[in-house]
């Protein structure tokens, strides 16, 4: 035991404030991860209370409505899981919760497709946002798979017919060997566990990327070339600080 006078008290530091680790902790994996997370997404960026003035259109509502529908899908799905796969065939309460599950899925895809088209026509991949676009597309594809396995797990004529028809497409490219749409147990587990986890992870990543990069700014005003300042009254101080970066990305390339 060392003498009490040998104890060095580290300088007071709150590593959670800006992610900076205390001296000597810099090489710790946890400290590095925290530092990277806080630097990449400080609280004000992760959950801001203000947005650029152009974020004022109904098109921005479809993303959050998709998220809202996903929440209702998960909640109604949990109720169906708690009671088991046969419950909704035998009970009017079960049928009601199955109906909520079905209609929230229909709403989910309705809002998601509107969100996707909206983002396409906004060229939302501009400004290093290509990964945000791509995670959104993959989330859509995994959602299609999740809904598909849901239809296969219904245990009714619809699932019988969809399974026997879909097998031919899947088998034609070899997928059916590992993903047997006629195996109810396999499809149910994909539907209630693996695929929803995939959707949740992709949606989470998508949201973090949106917060990281911010909402893409509007395309140059009609009839105005941003890089030339045509039609815009440019301040005397701004031109030097606002480089002509629009030119190389003039076709919407991700820059």
């Amino acid at each position: 035991m060392s003498d009490v006078t040998d104890i060095t008290v580290p300088p007071a530091a709150d590593p959670l404030a800006d992610g900076t680790p205390a001296p000597g902790d810099e090489r710790m994996w946890s400290a590095r991860l925290r530092g990277a997370a806080v630097r990449g997404l400080p609280p004000g960026k992760l959950l801001p209370d203000r947005q650029p003035s152009y974020v004022a259109s109904w098109v921005y509502v479809f993303g959050v409505l998709t998220l809202g529908a996903f929440t209702i899908i998960c909640l109604s799905g949990v109720v169906l899981i708690l009671k088991g796969p046969s419950w909704w065939h035998e009970s009017s309460t079960g049928l009601f919760f199955n109906s909520i599950h079905l209609w929230s899925v229909e709403l989910f895809f309705f809002f998601m497709v509107l969100h996707l088209w909206g983002k396409f026509f906004m060229a939302s991949w501009r400004g290093n946002r290509a990964l945000t676009w791509m995670t959104g597309v993959v989330a859509f594809l995994v959602s299609v798979g999740t809904a598909f396995t849901g239809y296969l797990s219904q245990q009714n004529f619809d699932s019988q017919w969809i399974g026997t028809q879909a097998k031919d497409g899947l088998n034609s490219v070899g997928v059916g060997s590992f993903f047997n749409v006629l195996n109810f147990g396999q499809m149910l587990l994909w539907h209630v566990l693996l695929l929803p986890l995939g959707v949740a992870a992709l949606v989470g990543l998508h949201l973090l990327l949106v917060r990281r990069r911010g909402v893409v700014r509007p395309l140059p005003a009609p009839g105005r070339a941003r890089h030339r300042g045509v039609g815009l009254q440019v301040s005397s101080a701004a031109p030097a600080a606002a480089p002509a970066a629009e030119t190389p990305a003039a076709d919407g390339a991700d820059r």
Partner: protein
């Protein structure tokens, strides 16, 4: 969820709009409560989903059973069972993943026979699994059936084929009663008592149980009964009546008048047009096309021309019309304050 309370940024609206897309926004901001917006969205969707559920409910057409098939359409059941026995049914000649190729090369994606590469992972022998094995269970308490079964299994493949072919042809003039199948005299060998026995099992429902039975007590794999059902016409006729067949855009439909998987419209559409609708490679072609289009959607930000479409189609003017209006109305000669790009809390 936005509120007015606009605050100016370090840049004017015009200057901020001119900056590169990758730069953070330093122009005017508005109040925007993301958490409140999410909660409102959840409540709105919940109310909408509950309202739709109360008014429209959801479809639940009971599943078909082999018992129902044998009782409603015994001719189709027996005709299908004979093809399962002699290995000429759709499942028996399917190839991977159910069985080795009996004929043909299977579907290809260009030069790639991916279907063949995957191999047999869900083995199904229709003769044994759908007919001989279930009959073997019934034969334990039926000496006549046991004798017929022994005679059939002891015969050569050529003899078996001759019996089943003659029986299949004889079904054109068969009658079906409670006692089973009655045919005109012919050289059917032991096939008539076997088919009558199988029809009897199917009518009582025991064939449903036998086909589902797995090596262990619990079972959730319906591959065999579904393949058997799909080989007949009974299931397809029911689907046709429910507007679910392939030519009716079936994959995206739902029983009754409910919306189904409308998001599969593009996938389903290919099956309605040539060459996909007529090619023996149709499934692989549709899948190949969809994979290519999906890759295109994923890589839109990098595809010259496609990524320019938003600039050419003026939808964005509608989306950001307020922004452009304000931009145009911004007083001429606006001078932005010195640029200071500290994290903005405005």
């Amino acid at each position: 969820m936005s509120g007015a309370a606009e605050r100016p940024g370090s840049d004017s609206l015009a200057v901020a709009s001119r900056r590169p897309d990758a730069e953070p926004w330093h122009g005017p901001t508005i109040r925007y409560d993301l958490v409140k917006e999410y909660v409102v969205a959840v409540v709105a969707v919940a109310v909408l989903a509950v309202a739709l559920s109360v008014v429209l409910s959801s479809p639940d057409v009971r599943p078909l059973t082999i018992r129902q098939w044998a009782q409603s359409d015994p001719a189709d059941f027996v005709a299908t069972a004979v093809t399962e026995l002699n290995g000429s049914s759709a499942t028996a000649t399917y190839g991977p993943p159910y069985n080795a190729w009996a004929a043909g090369e299977g579907q290809k994606l260009g030069p790639l026979g991916i279907e063949r590469w995957a191999g047999v992972h869900v083995p199904v022998d229709t003769s044994v699994d759908f007919v001989l094995s279930p009959l073997g269970v019934a034969a334990q308490s039926d000496p006549a059936l046991r004798s017929a079964l022994n005679r059939y299994t002891a015969a050569s493949a050529v003899q078996q084929q001759a019996w089943t072919t003659a029986y299949g042809n004889g079904l054109a003039h068969a009658s079906f009663g409670d006692g089973g199948v009655t045919l005109r005299p012919g050289r059917y060998g032991p096939v008539p008592p076997m088919m009558t026995g199988l029809l009897g099992m199917a009518r009582t429902g025991s064939l449903d149980a036998d086909l589902l039975a797995s090596p262990q007590f619990y079972g959730t794999d319906y591959t065999k009964p579904l393949l058997f059902l799909a080989d007949g016409s009974f299931m397809a006729n029911q689907a046709q009546a429910q507007h679910l067949s392939g030519s009716q855009w079936g994959m995206m439909n739902e029983t009754g008048n409910y919306p189904g998987q409308a998001w599969l419209w593009l996938y389903t559409m290919w099956y309605q047009v040539k060459p996909f609708s007529t090619s023996s490679n149709g499934d692989a072609l549709v899948w190949g096309t969809m994979m290519l289009l999906t890759l295109g959607l994923l890589l839109v930000p990098f595809i010259p021309g496609v990524r320019s479409i938003p600039r050419l189609v003026p939808v964005y003017r509608l989306i950001w019309r307020d922004h452009y209006r304000r931009l145009a109305a911004e007083p001429a000669g606006t001078v932005a304050p010195p640029v200071s790009h500290q994290p903005q809390r405005a």
